[in-house]
Symmetry: C2
Subunit: 317 residues, 2 copies
């Protein structure tokens, strides 16, 4: 196994044949009926019961998607929702995804400074340094906030380098009001996002973090907003793999994500969350498999990979 996270991720993408990632954002109210209606799992008002149902669903999703995608992105917020038991379940799911051979991205967008950032970096990314948690595996990579500048990110980079893991730094998000902050124009002519992109590229290539494929263990979270903007960001961050959210349910289409890739078809990992994990709510799949939610998810996952591949192949031809 390569030591460098970017090399590991690229290997996994080659093996599965698609630069895709399934995002796991589970909510109890959308669980398939056959899980939510199981007697012992059917109580949304009890956090432990509801969480058991959520975890059961997520475990099954991981198994369904594992043959088709190289990675999953687990959204910590949906587990924090269930307090300490939720964090326990988040780690349970990481173990499950790891056993299924998936690269696991913990999407927590933590950020702080100094010793606080070190604490977050250790708990978010490091293998536990406690004897009683020896068997626990952490995620392969995490998302982090960029607002603190390098000192806020460096502790995560240090842990990532020491443990062959990765960091995706927040550069551009997909929400409408992000533009209020991220598209503000600087005197230099750059937007705030572009200014951060410049810094992230400098961090990515600076600390001997670049692997055999030319990518760094420091990547960037870049949502597919407008084409010109993404092309500029792609040009600015030559050493960064883009973790691209917003495909499917958040409105991103295959054409939107095309500029996230370099001309050789590398450089991005596209994430679809709700459009895959809740595919059994989509008439397109529901009509075909009215009572087999797992088949709906599997087909949606395959369709997602095919759509993304069509863009990558067109680009690299």
């Amino acid at each position: 196994m390569p030591e460098n996270f970017a090399d590991r991720l690229l290997d996994a993408i080659r093996t599965k044949g698609s630069p895709t990632c399934v995002g796991i954002d589970p909510v109890y109210s959308r669980l398939p009926a056959d899980i939510a209606e199981q007697k012992e799992l059917n109580d949304e008002s009890d956090s432990e019961v509801a969480l058991d149902a959520v975890l059961e669903f997520c475990r099954r999703v991981v198994k369904i998607v594992a043959p088709h995608v190289p990675a999953v992105k687990i959204n910590t917020a949906f587990f924090e929702r269930y307090y300490w038991d939720g964090i326990d379940a988040y780690f349970d799911l990481i173990q499950e995804a790891d056993k299924a051979g998936l690269i696991v991205i913990g999407d927590g967008k933590r950020g702080d400074i100094g010793l606080t950032a070190e604490m977050y970096a250790r708990s978010a990314l490091a293998e536990p340094d406690f004897a009683n948690l020896d068997d626990l595996t952490g995620p392969d990579a995490v998302t982090v906030s960029s607002y603190f500048g390098l000192d806020g990110v460096k502790p995560f980079i240090n842990v990532a380098r020491d443990e062959s893991k990765g960091v995706f730094v927040l550069v551009r998000t997909s929400n409408e009001s992000a533009a209020q902050i991220q598209n503000a124009k600087l005197e230099s002519g750059l937007t705030v996002s572009e200014h951060i992109a410049q810094q992230v590229e400098a961090w990515a290539k600076d600390f001997g973090l670049v692997g055999a494929n030319g990518y760094s263990l420091v990547g960037a979270v870049v949502a597919p907003t407008d084409r010109e903007e993404i092309m500029r960001l792609r040009g600015m961050m030559q050493h960064c793999i883009f973790l691209v959210p917003g495909y499917g349910a958040q409105g991103g289409t295959a054409q939107d994500i095309a500029p996230c890739f370099k001309s050789d078809g590398t450089g991005a990992l596209i994430t679809a969350s709700r459009s895959v994990i809740y595919a059994y709510e989509d008439m397109k799949y529901l009509e075909r498999w009215p009572s087999e939610w797992d088949k709906c998810i599997e087909q949606a996952c395959k369709d997602f990979a095919t759509e993304v591949n069509s863009v990558v192949l067109t680009k690299s031809e």
Copy 2:
């Protein structure tokens, strides 16, 4: 009890006679010997044992400082360090601080968009909506990231408004490299921090969030950097209480924090963390109470309040 968080906080400041807050950032290696050396708490390699020691210390700190300060700020990173059990301990400590009559600020700097932000807002700030956690109290306010613009903050504001709680939005941090991002100059002439400050003030005064004292439940995290910068930020955010980190161990002094207050002596809550909770490592206190760490903490807490008050009184004279 007033409904508005800013009014509650100002009442608490008046009652305790000082706009101060003790930050709780516990690390096992700095625990007082008589806690770390207790047989059943003396094993840093076992996360549960180490956490029990950390929690025991924090509980005692809360009791020691409660008569002297209106608020404590609990840094979630230092609890996440211990995984799910750490989150359980974080909530235990909130209950303890709440019982001691303290306003509790959960310092997690969470941020995301859409439904993810709602999930964070509920778990970070709401009273639990699960029957089995009915007795659990959440923090009175939390810190949140600003990088997503309004949609990232609005879910926190909504929960805060509904539950008489508060939100402190990250505007300016104290670390050196923060300037790389936060001091970048915009075409408008503002820095990125100032631009965010303008937005935060707009959010703070906009949604009917302002209490009887003229402050909003939306406040701002503003570190005491340079005097001119803080005066500009103070001028721009008339409706925001500043949560001011960095006093003491991070290098902030009484003079540095003066511009965080308005001329009437209101408008800021000053936080000292390590300089208070580890006062027993400071020769100034250690010489006087070589084997009573609790007395060292109590005196450091009183000294901190006195120093901050000297600035506030000078200012409002």
